[in-house]
Symmetry: C2
Subunit: 413 residues, 2 copies
């Protein structure tokens, strides 16, 4: 994209009402627009980041047999009554409204009950199991406070997957497959090394659920990890987990962390409470095992900002960045060469943000840093003569002058 | 996809509470699941159709310089107060709810005011214009009744584009570009020949807005068209339009039609009511020209069903179908060959729905027809011996036995 066509603008000042670094930087860089506390619009730059994160998650969910669908946001009271979760006392984040005939409706903050209710129509026999479905859904949660930017929104995008199984063994085996898929997701998002599968507090059926926690100063959680990073336990279950696992809790050290995923075995709890059963090969009614697997897409975007940004601005991992290359020209010959290079890189499938604005080089360099594009390529009169480009890697600030022929291999390493 | 992995099932009976053909067929075929009147979930088959429609629209919007973003569903009262459209008296389709501190919020049924409010932050000078943005957004409209299936939902997906301009001339010129882009969209959706740009009732500024109307028995509108289809006028503005255009209204014939798009020039109305201005090259404050351009994505899917389906079930245009080929095997040798062909077609980028279920051929044929996949390819013991396949084209029911080597060219004509 030509930056002159981008309608958002960068700003030097953070908005006064934002305390979270992720929101401050994303707003300054023009990636998000604040509608109200906890509610953001994603401008074209931010939208591209979200779509890149979604695509990585989508590919990994498809690879383990997930089928993508889209549920509704509007929910019927009946759907949630069976498990007692329609009540505002049980679930305090419902947004509710009414149809014209005064029928109450809710805006989905989760789809666990909704999925089970739908599946009831299709899952009759053991032959219909397992089933594995997922969606990218805009969830609504009426949070009392919303001060964490896009890390905890009143309206946010979540990937939620649900798997239904005939037996506990089958459910457990798939649950392990999802854990491996999630590890691949965080690797591809560039935070694999600092993301742990942790024991977290569970529900009525499982003693522990699992969270994926990324070490991050802005995190709301505390993680206890051992020296070789092979064990990580959430603070809230430290006592129980260490005694259960036979670990000396003094060998674990606390670090701040942010949840980037949460997976959960419900066992047959939902099935039994909602009265949804399948028929086994002997013709007997049996309850269905359910597990759910969430990744907060907008939250992950926020964690990436909190974890990777520096004093100059955003720093995006290459797989997630809205563009791979930020292209800047200096001098008249530079403009001609930059126009050529812009077309050439695009024809090779490289996403380029070409700063064709009538601005000083200093402003362009500062904006490129704030926007966090992985590689800045500068084309100048001087370098043009020697057949070279200056390439700066955003994450390391490492700057190098390279031969023009080396550029493609440099930025696709 | 292997049909054995698809969790939805086909059904012979239409649900008793659905009067619309589109909902009846889509539910019977397992493309949608009804949550409540006017609210549907899109199962993997239906989801693929929606995504295919969206991708066609996306490509055409990108081609005319549109920038994709995503706004929020939650809306602040302030945003809509300036134009008087927060009031339930002015707009009777709001779903409203409240934050914990009793602040009223609404669920977006449109984003016209929201876009203008956001743009105010970025559009300061004539240099910042024009701006062209669009989104695929889930809209909520609290309809009194919802009996048209996915053609008029309480929750539905819309592509809404907005363009902001410094001058009326620039706005008019872009508006014409969008009309041409819309024509390409309906052509690619397979309904170009029966879709007309019509004069419709406008707002305060423009005398007429334009609708795209597709001739369709299930349509809620009546269109008056002339003999060579060069003029089409909505019934609601027949008197005004014919007198304005100098057309004898007796030369026009009525046909039933469904709206598949609606485009609108607001002039400077929103800008002035909301107090949003830009600075021109002389340093003077000037109002912004706004136009909006909608395509109801889920509605279009419903119209395609109403218009193209026959007594055997759904009929999807190739560009929109969830899969291009429905693959069926008969006999043991057929299974071996079908497995090979399944992999071969997929490796060539053809989307195949392979009916690997343990079902009678008659059931498989009936389901293939109900599902509406453009080509049914049958692999049987008998044809295997002669190196041939049977190919049936869903839309025409034309059946042909072709040489195996001819298949790819046959289905990609």
């Amino acid at each position: 994209m030509r930056l002159s066509n981008n309608f958002t603008k960068t700003s030097k000042d953070a908005p006064a009402d934002e305390v979270a670094k992720n929101a401050q930087l994303l707003i300054r860089a023009g990636y998000v627009y604040k509608v109200m506390a906890g509610v953001y619009a994603y401008t074209p730059l931010g939208f591209r980041v979200l779509e890149n994160i979604k695509q990585i998650v989508r590919e990994e969910m498809d690879a383990i047999g997930g089928q993508e669908l889209i549920m509704s946001s509007l929910q019927r009271k009946d759907t949630w009554d069976g498990t007692g979760r329609w009540s505002d006392d049980a679930v305090d984040v419902w947004f509710k409204s009414k149809l014209k005939d005064e029928t109450e409706v809710g805006l989905a903050w989760s789809h666990e009950e909704a999925i089970m209710e739908m599946m009831q129509q299709f899952v009759k026999s053991y032959k219909d199991l397992p089933a594995k479905v997922y969606q990218f859904q805009t969830k609504m949660r009426n949070e009392l406070r919303a001060k964490s930017g896009i890390m905890r929104g009143r309206e946010f995008v979540m990937k939620d997957m649900y798997s239904l199984h005939a037996t506990e063994e089958d459910c457990d085996a798939y649950y392990e497959q999802v854990i491996e898929a999630y590890k691949r997701i965080y690797d591809r998002l560039g935070i694999g090394d600092s993301t742990f599968v942790t024991f977290a507090s569970g529900g009525a059926f499982t003693k522990f659920s699992h969270e994926f926690q990324t070490i991050c100063d802005a995190g709301e959680d505390v993680l206890y990890v051992n020296a070789d990073n092979s064990v990580a336990v959430n603070e809230e279950v430290l006592e129980d987990a260490t005694s259960e696992l036979g670990i000396d809790k003094d060998t674990l050290q606390p670090v701040k962390s942010a949840e980037v995923g949460n997976i959960f075995k419900f066992g047959t709890e939902k099935s039994e409470k909602m009265g949804i059963f399948y028929t086994d090969s002997d013709g007997k009614k049996q309850p269905i095992y359910l597990a759910s697997y969430g990744v907060g897409i907008t939250r992950v975007m926020g964690v990436l900002v909190e974890k990777l940004a520096d004093e100059k601005g955003l720093v995006w991992p290459t797989n997630v960045a809205p563009y791979t290359v930020s292209l800047i020209s200096i001098g008249d010959a530079g403009i001609v060469k930059a126009e050529q290079l812009y077309k050439e890189l695009q024809s090779k499938g490289i996403d380029v943000l070409y700063d064709d604005r009538d601005e000083r080089p200093g402003k362009k360099f500062a904006d490129a840093e704030l926007l966090g594009i992985p590689y800045r390529v500068t084309v100048s009169d001087r370098l043009e003569e020697s057949g070279e480009y200056e390439v700066q890697t955003r994450a390391s600030s490492h700057t190098e002058v390279i031969k023009q022929a080396e550029l493609m291999s440099y930025i696709t390493r």
